[in-house]
Amino acid sequence: MEPVRTIEGKAYPFGRKNVDTDVIIPAQWLKTISREGLGKGCFESVRQEPGNVFDDPAYQGASIVIAGDNFGCGSSREHAAWALLDMGVRAVIAPSYSDIFSGNAFKNGILAVVLPQEAVDRLLEVAKTDPIHIDLESQTVTTPFQDRFTFEIDPFRKHCLINGLDEVGLTLARDSAIAAYEDRARASLPFLARGIDQAA
């Protein structure tokens, strides 16, 4: 995974709440067997609305989406994160995210920045004319107008993002701990530990 340190550029001032992953990428786009090419379907239904921010030339090439509460709710499809990446989005700024989306975003190197609604409202305003700067190291979002908002992020996620670490590889390095758990489980929870070949 590519390391993530700073993200700077135009931002789509979307602002909508409860944006579900069916809106981010509709089901008809999920039949792919690769992670690429989904940007074309990203926000398909929103793009049918006249004057939508995603087709507005003013925001072309934006790398940030600014949204309302509960971004990425609904389906677990990681295609939502892949679609955002494919359309060039590297960060989302919103007051809250669905649990599954924030995990999917992280695993694809998309920074899901949590800021209070007042800060999001201010950034929605700024984004109409000016770029937004996100610095992961210092956990800040800044604008050309002296705005400076700090955000919280799980330290482990921050570490992985900054260093571009592969989580599967990290966990595989804990193989002895996993094997020790499996030994314990075979003794204490044999009915769960036994595979289905032996149960059937």
């Binding site: 677990s76 695993k107 599967v168 966990t171 996993i178 929870l189 530990a193 149960a199």
Partner: protein, 476 residues
């Protein structure tokens, strides 16, 4: 001692911690992993690229469901029929290849055990109380109806579980949804969960695992519990749980992958110990009066947009929050509804009875009970019944339910996710309405421009008969 009293969720979590980090995140062991065709190809591809095997293929079960057409799968001579859509065919072929290549048991599209992952798991005894269960599908919460900690994951996590049989997770907060009293006659588990989501909102459970508590759930059938837990994700909760009890054990006993012999006895003893301790604390608690729950229906494009069938389309101005007002205006525009319109006057053109929420035998019985001796209204152009699995289909046919549906003018299909999501040929045409027993009324969910009204199986059957959203209690 109050501080050692634990909730059902905490007991299952504690039993599965492989390692705890200083920051509180835990490496958690996964007992059961269900795999389907849509969210797995990229995970298998990544394993192959890294030369990594599946750690516990014997804890993994693969079955196609999402984009499989629900029309006949074999011709008269018994030959497998091709899948017309090349992309779907490719995804299905990938699963069919990937599962055996990685040593994973695969249920084929033409096997009688095939069905929707969340119907197959409990039915096969693959899903068990107290187990951690994952699948690349948000409705995995469903299996919480058995008392399992079950939740949906993304494809990177599918890859992580395949490779390591674990996930790195932060503990969720706990939330109690307590329902007091008895449900009124004619009110189903689906009506109850729609009512709950309407009450707490689609973000009400975010960051939490919900435990549904109260006499209503104790008295509810296992299939009803699966329906309730299934839609926990629609309230934003990662998982929903109902304590396993004697009903759960009776449901699971002797199912193909359920524990046998001494294992079974040990399992029942442990499962019995999992119930939330008296005095255990929840981070959040909501109380619902069962008597307030009516047959429910959605009017908008979010599962929280719920009203009783006797209600009217709300006015956007009736919502306190400006953003919700805006969302409601957009929803009403999309749905083609006007504030004040009676819900039971809304005409529908399509009926879908199926999905991981409502495609089990009790759901089909409830729908058939309404449709028996009746026929669908002339304005209902398309009405399909899609059993959740081949075994549900067989059972329904043994009971003659298929004949009730067919006589009423509904189509009787092969198992799959069908019109719950616009991924397979079963779609609702743009601008048309569907009374649907599925779980999401999102924009475009049942096909571009489709207008979904979420209801229970009995309510969907009633809508088929009258051609409009209808209080099923008028027909019984």
């Amino acid at each position: 001692m109050a501080d050692t009293a634990r909730t059902l969720y905490e007991k299952i979590w504690d039993a599965h911690v492989v390692e705890r980090r200083d920051d509180g995140t835990c490496l958690v062991y996964i007992d059961r992993h269900l795999v389907h065709e849509v969210t797995s190809p990229q995970a298998f591809e990544a394993l192959r690229a890294a030369g990594r095997p599946v750690r516990r293929p014997d804890l993994t079960l693969a079955v196609p469901d999402h984009n499989l057409p629900t029309t006949a799968r074999r011709d008269a001579a018994g030959n497998r029929l091709p899948i017309a859509d090349p992309e779907s065919a490719q995804q299905l072929a990938m699963l069919e290849r990937n599962a055996p290549a990685f040593g994973i048991r695969y249920i084929d599209a033409t096997d009688r055990e095939q069905g929707i992952v969340h119907v197959v798991g409990p039915e096969q005894g693959f899903s068990l109380p107290g187990a951690t269960i994952v699948c690349g599908d948000s409705h995995t919460a469903c299996h919480g109806g058995l008392g399992a900690l079950a939740f949906g994951i993304g494809t990177s996590e599918v890859e992580h579980v395949l490779a390591t049989q674990t996930l790195l997770l932060s503990p969720s907060k706990t939330m109690e949804v307590r329902v007091e009293g008895d449900l009124p006659l004619g009110v189903s588990p689906k009506d109850l969960i729609l009512h709950i989501i309407g009450r707490i909102g689609t973000g009400g459970g975010t960051g939490h695992v919900i435990e549904y508590r109260g006499k209503v759930f104790e008295e509810m059938s296992i299939e009803g519990r699966l329906t309730v837990c299934n839609m926990s994700i629609e309230a934003g909760a990662r998982a929903g749980l109902i304590a396993p009890d004697a009903k759960t054990f009776a449901y699971l006993k002797d199912r193909p992958y359920a524990p046998k012999g001494a294992d079974w006895d040990a399992a029942v003893a442990w499962w019995t110990s999992l119930a939330t301790d008296p005095g255990a604390r929840f981070d959040k608690s909501v109380t619902i009066q069962a008597a307030d729950v009516q047959p429910s229906v959605t009017w908008g494009t979010s599962p929280e947009d719920v009203v009783p069938i006797g209600g009217v389309v709300p006015a956007p101005e009736s919502f306190a929050d400006a953003s919700k007002q805006d969302a409601a205006r957009k929803s009403l525009d999309y749905m083609g509804l006007t504030p004040g319109q009676r819900m039971d006057a809304v005409e529908i053109q399509n009926v879908f009875i199926g999905s991981c929420t409502n495609s089990r035998i009790e759901d089909l019985r409830a729908a058939a009970a309404v449709l028996k001796g009746r026929t669908k209204a002339p304005n209902v152009k398309w009405a399909i019944v899609v059993p959740g699995s081949g075994l549900v289909k067989e059972q329904a046919e043994a009971e003659g339910l298929d004949q009730v549906f067919i006589a009423a003018g509904l189509e009787w299909r092969e198992p799959g996710c069908s019109a719950c999501l616009g991924m397979n040929p079963d779609k609702v045409p743009a601008g048309e309405r569907c009374a649907s027993t599925s779980n999401r009324n999102f924009v475009g969910r049942q096909g571009p421009g489709a207008r979904t009204h979420l209801v229970s199986p009995a309510m969907a059957a009633a809508a088929a008969v009258t051609g409009r959203l209808t209080d099923v209690r008028e027909l019984v």
